[in-house]
């Protein structure tokens, strides 16, 4: 599996982790998280399109960063921590698409 495939695996798992947290959150927290979740899904879409058109774009450091963000989303117990983790993803993808 090359770095791009690893990146997509990590990002896909981050999206699933975020969807799980969002859906389990109380109404007020979901209101706060909704724009961030939208942005994460949008970034995942942009990243896939970029890979489709260009092929190789991910480095070892990218894969390590994506894995670290995914782990942060999974362990985030509070809304603020989740927002912070996803903000890292959004900033990370913005530099690459």
């Amino acid at each position: 599996m090359d770095n791009d495939a690893k990146m997509l695996e990590e990002m896909g798992q981050a999206v699933v982790a975020m969807q799980l947290k969002y859906r389990a959150a109380p109404l007020r927290d979901r209101m706060t998280l909704k724009p961030t979740l939208e942005e994460l899904l949008a970034d995942y879409a942009r990243y896939q399109v970029k890979l489709l058109k260009e092929g190789t774009i991910s480095t070892d450091a990218d894969v390590a960063e994506a894995a670290s963000i995914r782990a942060e989303i999974e362990k985030a117990a509070k809304t603020e921590a989740l927002l912070k983790a996803v903000a890292r993803t959004v900033a990370f993808v913005a530099l690459r698409v």
Binding site: D4, Q13, Q19, L20, R30, K34, A42, R46, V49, G55
Partner: protein, 290 residues
Amino acid sequence: MHNKSRLALMGLCLLALAAAGCSEEKAKAIALAAEDFGRTSEEALASIDDLFTQSVAMPAEADSTRVDKMATDMADNTPFEAAELNQLMTEGEVGLKARDILSNEFDSLRARFVEVRTMFRTLPMGPRLSKKAVADSEKLLMRLTGDLYKMGANLAKQPAQFTGRRTLLVELIQNDKKIVDKASREARLRADAHSLLQLRRDELAARTAAVQRCYLAAEAGRSLSDMARHYGDLDVQSILDITKDSMKLAADLTFQSNAIDGLAKRIEHAEGAIRSDPYWKVILEPAPAR
């Protein structure tokens, strides 16, 4: 349309054209090949669009499930105002931004292929005019063919995750793990394991189908590009034979192979062949501007 049905229908058209056999028929024959290229490339783009859309989808839920959750939300002790109402009313729209991004991307990709289809549909039927129009289309055809090989090769390496369905499955497993009765819990978890395997098969099948369609469209594009290049020297029968070969590949591939690794190798081989061909290389990899 199913590949076999398409092959049968196109076969009838090809026979009719072969029987006619004059220069107007030659233009019609290449227009028919262009139709096939247009259709296969449209199918390829639709498959990728669908694959990516499923990867950014939120879990799909029945209204009854949503109603249960809304009732729980409303029963909460916190105040319920206009913003809370709006949140509940619009939760089904989460993911709209991602879907818009994909729609825009695929619409602009599709537009380039529609251009080719339109170009050939309006092909002038006079021998000299049609020869010029076909020659004018050649470079665009070659670039689109190169793009299709590239997308197929890239897609073969891109793992697909249907995130909405994965999320639902995780929730299901988390709930089933809590069942107290051992026999019921084990039965439910076995059912979940089957769902897990099915989801994996569905993800792989959707990706394989998209890669396969890219490959078929690229092969149709390569045949059409070659026809455009040698249009002046080809007779009607030769054009029809090339078109038939291209469509036969589609029918054979559907029933002989659907493995992604095999497809990736075919694409790699075909793409390598055109990129190392000096004639194609000039078009696909133009020298950087000074």
